[in-house]
């Protein structure tokens, strides 16, 4: 397993794309945080310290690239190897497919955690500075942790999609699925109620977004997130149920049936 993790580390860090994605994730996250903070500051100039803290947290966790980068990292863990024919070399070096799968999961989660922590930390510093909330501890820890957990969920989703589908199909599933298909589907089923909540809240990406939900409804209008959400734990649990199903299917296809 240690060898497999070493392989994954060298594989990741010896391509230019990895370093570009790392830099872009952090930079875009900081820029988003700054832009959203400015928008909030302009729209609601009179805020209490508590509201400013929550707003700063929201601003710091809205970069779409953090989640997308985690998903891409997951997809590329197998997708790049399949695309360029290096998976065969990896399996020759580590014929235990389950060990290779586990190493890819561990390394993807470690990198995602590092990326998300670094970009969120820098973003929250920027948003707190813009919104005049000097105390970082006023940021909502549940949302910050939720962002970290959600990014890791996207990374796992990417691994599953990357094993089940060709690389382009997997990217399309995450990008089009989250940004196009699910919002449209959400509008269609919004009026249907399940256990007193809109059915739209049970869709995978919506359920996952509960992890970075916020209490102040006024903020929702500012960041254009007015759709219904499940409570954080329920939504997060449901999102990870979807992730688990996809991962199990991909493990069966890529590991169990292949050997």
């Amino acid at each position: 397993m240690r060898d497999a993790i070493h392989y994954e580390w060298v594989r990741l860090t010896t391509t230019r794309g990895f370093h570009v994605l790392t830099a872009a994730t952090i930079l875009v996250s900081v820029l988003f945080s700054w832009a959203i903070s400015l928008m909030i500051a302009n729209m609601a100039p009179e805020m209490t310290a508590q509201a400013a803290g929550e707003a700063a947290t929201v601003a710091a966790t809205r970069s779409p690239l953090v989640l997308l980068a985690a998903g891409l990292l997951g997809i590329f863990s197998f997708g790049q190897e399949k695309r360029y024919g290096t998976l065969c070399l990896a399996l020759l070096a580590m014929p235990q497919r389950s060990a290779l799968f586990a190493a890819k999961v561990v390394m993807t989660l470690l990198v995602t955690t590092t990326w998300t922590t670094a970009s969120t930390l820098m973003s929250v510093i920027v948003s707190n500075a813009v919104l005049g909330s000097s105390n970082l501890l006023e940021s909502d820890p549940a949302v910050l942790v939720g962002c970290l957990v959600l990014a890791n969920g996207w990374a796992l989703l990417g691994i599953g999609a990357g094993l089940l589908l060709p690389r382009t199909g997997a990217v399309a599933l995450l990008v089009a699925g989250s940004a196009l298909v699910e919002p449209l589907l959400g509008q269609l089923v919004e009026t249907i109620e399940i256990w007193g909540t809109s059915a739209a809240a049970f869709l995978p990406f919506r359920a996952g977004s509960s992890l970075i939900g916020f209490a102040d409804p006024a903020l929702g209008a500012i960041v254009a997130e007015t759709f219904p959400r499940l409570p954080a734990l329920a939504g997060g649990g449901l999102f990870f149920l979807y992730v688990a199903v996809l991962l199990a299917a991909s493990y069966r296809k890529g590991v169990v049936k292949a050997q």
Binding site: D3, W9, T15, Y84, L89, A93, P95
Partner: protein
């Protein structure tokens, strides 16, 4: 390291591409794997290395590939020259492959130097010529100084110097008791390299013979003779002795007799001899007898090392 392939089979969907293949490879042996395109050579190698599912088992000193600890240290393989990421340099490509086996950067540098690619170590293999990609794939296979080499068409794309280097390297490795299995379509090169030949055809192992036996497995050396009345002499040989006689211009090529016997017979029958020579059979002749002419079971099957 002794390799035993026992009853190996594989299918792609409903199509069975390998059927019950069994043979053994011994240390110090260079064994050639030949057969037409699409008849199972690469599939057999992949199956031996546990890359595809199937029936039967291959063991390396008694252990299946998947149970070897750091298998690259024991078995070096080349299955394709095309497996690399275009954004990764050749040096980093080797470092990545070696990372799972604890191979140092120095070993990767040495391997690149060995195949003559040191100058291009920092370049992406995407910019390499076909021969350079092949050399890089060979560097990856040789990098760990393995006991076994499994090489799928390793000579493809190599220039004259490259082929010469490859031949010497393989012979030298065989001298160090390494076990080597290589497939190729260049039979003249294989003839210089291999001690034994496996012939795969239609997913079946048609022959497993020492090189010299395979060349003569269906017939001995051919005799070329030029006489004053060739058509008459050919007719006499066919009619009285039932020999296979073919024309090569005005000369006759006779299978199944020695030059001495043909000369004596021509003299006895009153033909004037202009030329008499023996043409040694090549691997290509033996291969064509088995594959091209549909000889279904070679006499020496298994004599080279059936498990």
């Amino acid at each position: 390291m002794r390799i035993v392939v026992d009853g190996v089979g594989a299918s792609y969907g409903a199509k069975e591409v390998l059927r019950d293949i069994s043979f053994a490879l011994n240390p110090g042996e260079v064994v050639g794997l030949v057969g037409p395109n699409g008849h199972g050579k690469t599939t057999l190698m992949k199956r031996m290395l546990n890359l595809i599912p199937g029936t039967g088992e291959t063991t390396f000193d008694g252990k299946p590939y998947r149970l070897l600890t750091r298998p690259q240290l024991a078995v070096g393989s080349l299955l394709s020259a095309e497996g690399f990421h275009p954004g990764r340099s050749a040096m980093n490509h080797l470092r990545m492959i070696g990372a799972a086996s604890g191979i140092s950067r120095r070993s990767a540098e040495f391997a690149l130097d060995r195949v003559g690619l040191s100058e291009y170590a920092t370049k992406s293999p995407a910019s390499y010529s076909m021969g350079m990609k092949q050399r890089l794939a060979l560097a990856a296979a040789l990098m760990t100084e393995p006991q076994v080499l499994i090489l799928d068409e390793p000579i493809n794309g190599l220039d004259v110097d490259g082929v010469y280097w490859f031949r010497n390297t393989i012979r030298s490795l065989a001298g160090e008791s390494k076990t080597i299995l290589l497939s190729t379509h260049i039979l003249s090169e294989l003839e210089k390299l291999a001690d034994r030949v496996l012939v795969l055809h239609g997913g079946d192992l048609r022959a497993d013979c020492p090189m010299e036996e395979l060349k003569t497995t269906t017939s001995g050396p051919a005799v070329t003779i030029a006489v004053d009345r060739p058509r008459e002499f050919a007719a006499r040989l066919r009619a009285e002795d039932g020999l296979i006689v073919t024309f090569n211009g005005e000369s006759l090529v006779i299978d199944g007799m020695t030059a001495r016997d043909v000369g004596t017979l021509a003299n006895k029958l009153g033909f004037t001899l202009f030329e008499l020579s023996t043409t040694l059979r090549t691997l290509e002749d033996g291969y064509n007898d088995i594959v091209g002419r549909g000889v279904h079971e070679s006499q020496c099957r298994g004599s080279g090392g059936k498990p």
